[in-house]
């Protein structure tokens, strides 16, 4: 069961801050739901900085960035 973070509708830095908070809590995998490619790239960059692997899936114009430790 993965932790879900719904950051849809927020523009950065909120999605990144929400993802960062989830990473700090340390329970993986984390699924960050975003609805802009800017947020998708930013969350991906954060994950890489924190040493996480990412899997990105898209549905309509929403993206799920899955963070795996």
């Amino acid at each position: 069961m993965s932790i879900k973070v719904d950051a849809r509708g927020f523009s950065c830095p909120q999605p990144v801050m929400m993802a960062q908070k989830a990473i700090q809590e340390g329970k993986f995998p984390i699924e960050v739901l975003v609805d802009s490619s800017t947020a998708r790239e930013n969350v991906r960059r954060l994950a890489e900085m924190k040493g996480c692997k990412t899997e990105i899936t898209s549905q309509d114009d929403e993206f799920t960035v899955k963070l795996i430790k």
Binding site: G9, F10, R45
Partner: protein
């Protein structure tokens, strides 16, 4: 191919490329005729547009700068090609409008947006450093609010037509620039006959280079406020590497074009009143941070369908009208017969900058929520 390009633009080299490109285009636009150290200035250009429309009557700063519509439309084109055009709105628009107004009042206290601060520095104007210090301080205050849960709420997906309002408005502005109609005797559209408003690059040059900037900035999410914010908030140096690239390139370009003049006083369209350069930019920086983007970034976002950014842009244009109608904008230093007159703000201008800071602090304190 598209996916590859997207990855490149999102990479460190992508953002540096954007910085280098803007760093060349700014000085080039100046060479082609734009005012000194103002090859690109989003705040100044929006102020000129407000003047051209007759929203203020400062005769020396009235011109429909084609760069502004070009930035928005360049972003629209990029967003359409890469399928990122998305109509969205509804994240506290009235707050964004207010932030836009005060962001402009702060920018006109310093005489420039963050982009122009970079170009001023790259032209040898050392007062830009005081503005940059203020900008950083303002953004740092904004980061404190972000850390304590400040946000303006989620935006909503909305009708496709909503996202097209800003691009279509910008097309309208372009038509006004091209045909220069006069709507009544002695009335707008005004184009300055002297002063900065009368200095401009040829339409085609402004348009083509502006579209290019809009396109690349949309792809790379270039943002001068975000650059500083990300460093303070997360030690993320991605965006700021683009800003550094811009400044270094612009210095080299200005040296090559003979546009570099080192000094602190009587720099082109700038004043050396230290306190108000700093405080003006503190106000702007805080307003940009609370609104989530520098004036340039707000234009590019409005081009890809973000109605809330569009409202911020309209707020800035409104703020420019207030600033000049109410004598809140700074007066530049003047040097006549070897006598330096230091410019700066009127007492009312000073009061309004302080008022703006209070308004931004109230917004920051009162609009916080805790994430679950």
């Amino acid at each position: 191919m598209k996916e590859k390009l997207t990855r490149f633009f999102a990479s460190k080299w992508g953002i540096i490329t954007a910085g280098v490109l803007i760093g060349i285009i700014g000085p080039l636009l100046q060479k082609f005729g734009n005012p000194k150290n103002m090859g690109i200035c989003v705040a100044c250009f929006e102020r000129d547009i407000a003047g051209a429309l007759g929203l203020h009557r400062a005769a020396v700063v009235q011109y429909i700068r084609p760069e502004i519509p070009a930035f928005v439309l360049g972003s629209t084109i990029a967003a359409l090609i890469f399928r990122e055009f998305k109509s969205r709105s509804g994240s506290a628009p009235i707050v964004r409008y207010l932030l836009g107004i005060f962001a402009m009042i702060g920018a006109l206290a310093f005489l420039g947006c963050p982009w122009r601060a970079n170009f001023r520095l790259a032209g040898g104007d050392l007062t830009a450093l005081t503005g940059m210090f203020g900008l950083t301080a303002g953004i740092a205050i904004g980061v404190m609010f972000l850390r304590s849960g400040y946000n303006l709420g989620r935006s909503q997906k909305t009708y496709q037509a909503v996202g097209w309002i800003m691009p279509v408005l910008m097309l309208g502005l372009l038509l006004l620039r091209i045909f220069h109609p006069v709507f009544s005797e002695g009335g707008p559209i005004f184009f300055s006959e002297s002063g900065p408003g009368s200095m401009f690059a040829p339409l085609a040059v402004s348009l083509v280079l502006g579209l290019l900037v809009g396109f690349v900035a949309q792809r790379t999410r270039f943002c001068t406020m975000g650059a500083v914010r990300d460093v303070i908030l997360m030690r993320d140096f991605h965006l700021i590497s683009g800003v550094f690239a811009l400044i270094i390139t612009a210095i080299v370009a200005n040296l090559a074009l003979g546009q570099f003049k080192l000094g602190y006083t009587a720099q082109p369209i700038a004043h050396s009143s230290l306190l108000w350069n700093v405080l003006g930019m503190v106000l702007s920086g805080l307003a940009y941070a609370l609104a989530g983007g520098c004036p340039g970034r707000q234009l590019f976002l409005s081009g890809e369908g973000d109605g809330d950014s569009g409202i911020f842009v309209l707020g800035m244009i409104t703020g420019a009208a207030f600033a000049h109608n109410f004598n809140l904008a700074a007066r530049p230093d003047t040097l006549a017969d070897g006598v330096l007159t230091v410019g700066g703000l009127s007492p009312l201008g000073m009061t309004t900058v302080v008022l703006g800071l209070v308004v931004c602090l109230v917004i920051g304190f009162s609009m916080r929520e805790k994430f679950e």
